[in-house]
């Protein structure tokens, strides 16, 4: 009813997205950039991280290029604030960013290893999601 309830709702959505996206990227970075698995991680963990990331990225790409296309329920995975922040962050390079993200989705679909450039664009998304969650938290706790 108060503004705090809706901000809490917003924070919970943004934090959940940031956490899921970052967890998948962290697992895959370790696997493909450092060439090893973390303690307790297995090939199955990597497979799950690839699936999670593919799903989240697929929704993100669909939402970023939604101009004129019908909205799909899948896009609801990506909080509106994250989209807005990401659009502002990449500004004039939105189309190039979409192409790069789509390339990562294709690599994940093909089962291909991810390379440095893939992680550069994934880091941009991680940063946008993290900054959005942090901003929502500051609004929520008034800090």
């Amino acid at each position: 009813m108060s503004e705090l309830s809706i901000i809490a709702h917003d924070y919970a959505l943004n934090a959940e997205f940031a956490r899921k996206f970052n967890d998948a990227v962290l697992t895959l970075k370790r696997r493909y950039l450092l060439g090893r698995l973390g303690k307790g991680e297995t090939d199955e963990t990597v497979k799950e991280a690839r699936l999670d990331l593919r799903s989240l990225l697929g929704s993100l790409v669909a939402a970023l290029q939604d101009e004129g296309k019908p909205w799909t329920a899948d896009q609801a995975q990506v909080p509106a604030d994250v989209l807005e922040r990401l659009r502002k962050r990449v500004k004039g390079e939105l189309q190039e960013t979409i192409v790069e993200l789509r390339g990562v989705v294709d690599d994940l679909a093909k089962g291909a290893a991810l390379r440095g450039p893939a992680f550069r664009v994934l880091d941009v998304v991680c940063e946008a999601a993290d900054a959005t969650a942090s901003a929502a938290f500051r609004r929520l706790r008034r800090i």
Binding site: L4, S5, I6, A8, D10, L26, W71, A73, E127, A133
Partner: protein, 372 residues
């Protein structure tokens, strides 16, 4: 030499463990519902501290390629710890008679409406009206709520926030699909008609407000009405009278006048047309008292057709989730729902003597819920 991130993680672990110690220390003497919340929070915090410990032991923590991602994990855990300290721990330590009564009341509401998760903990500690805090499963109310009945329908709205968040596929996503389709059609028709750019921009702004946060507030109002019935509409009118301009909106909240329309849509779908009309009559009276007039573009910003579609969707979502509609409540078992409905009837019948009625009804509720 530990890195900055290691030091921050060590500090976080210390704070997490301190709160875990406090949570353990408050266990003795807590009522069962408070203890259920305490255990849940302690389990979550234990997992969070374990994650911090895993990060501290991770040989790749200082790797420049991974360190920023570990730092993001640090921030999410920090946010959890601050939230638990500011909300759960505060209410558990205080555990005042008001907090206990309101938590019992909310638990009873959960049972009456068919809410399936553990009931949130409730504390009368808010300085910003009612609040639902999703991350920690807490509802905060103003100080006086343990002694009042007329604003209690707002508890249903706060509870609805948890449902709309957790049941996204059943409630929020279908609502968003309706809103996106509605505005896509409006934009398409606008282009065909060659509407001026300023009008198209206004449509775009309305669409963004609806799809960003307004849909959540509308959906929560509608779920609350599904559960609580006409009393929710009356409480909304009472709150709107305090808030002032019924046409004022913000980035987070739609206008009260539009919210009232959404509430009426649900009442009508549930067969409460007479109640909806009565609330509308009172609303017209409220507007007579208020000098406000709808701003330009108001009708297009809050299309009745869209509100009706959203209400239909929420109504079906609530039915699909197995929630109890207000008109299905049995007065013997729906203790709180019945008490609230009767309180509003008593208030409308004789507002002058309502204070005495309310004091007696609250006492009866306390007796039934606290010492059954």
């Amino acid at each position: 030499m530990p890195s900055l991130l290691q030091k921050l993680l060590l500090d976080l672990k210390r704070r997490g463990n301190w709160i875990l110690g406090e949570l353990a220390a408050v266990e003795k003497g807590l009522p069962a519902d408070f203890n259920t919340h305490r255990k849940g929070v302690a389990q979550r915090l234990t997992r969070a501290v374990a994650l911090v410990e895993r990060m501290l032991c991770d040989p790749d923590l200082a790797d420049p390629k991974l360190e920023p991602n570990f730092f993001m994990d640090f921030k999410r855990v920090s946010e959890l710890i601050v939230s638990v300290e500011d909300t759960s721990l505060l209410i558990l330590k205080r555990c005042s008679p008001e907090d206990r009564f309101l938590t019992s009341l909310l638990g009873q509401i959960c049972r009456e409406v068919g809410y399936k998760d553990p009931p949130p903990l409730c504390g009368a500690l808010s300085f910003q009206y009612f609040q639902a805090l999703m991350e920690t499963d807490i509802v905060m109310t103003p100080q006086g709520q343990a002694s009042e009945l007329l604003a209690l329908p707002d508890l249903y709205h706060e509870l609805a926030h948890f449902v709309v968040f957790r049941q996204r596929p059943a409630l929020e996503v279908p609502v968003l699909a309706i809103i996106h389709k509605y505005f896509a059609d409006v934009v398409r028709k606008g282009r065909q008609q060659g509407l001026p750019q300023a009008t198209m921009d206004a449509i775009g702004k309305s669409s963004a407000l609806w799809t960003s946060l307004w849909h959540v507030e509308f959906a929560c109002d509608m779920v609350a009405t599904y559960w609580c019935g006409p009393a929710y509409g009356l409480a909304n009118l009472r709150l709107s009278a305090i808030r002032g301009d019924p046409y004022q909106d913000s980035g987070t909240h739609p206008a009260d006048d539009a919210r009232k329309t959404g509430i009426e849509c649900i009442l009508k779908l549930a067969g409460g047309t007479v109640a909806a009309n009565e609330i509308d009559r009172m609303w017209q009276d409220l507007k007579r008292l208020s000098p406000s007039i709808p701003p330009a573009g108001y009708v297009k910003r809050y299309p009745t057709q869209l509100l009706e579609q959203v209400a239909q969707c929420v109504y079906q979502g609530c039915a699909g989730l197995g929630f109890q509609r207000f008109s299905q409540h049995q007065s013997e078992s729906a203790i709180v729902g019945t008490a609230i409905a009767q309180a509003w009837e008593a208030f409308q019948r004789d507002a002058a003597t309502f204070a005495a009625y309310e004091a007696s009804a609250i006492q009866a509720l306390r007796s039934r819920l606290m010492w059954p």
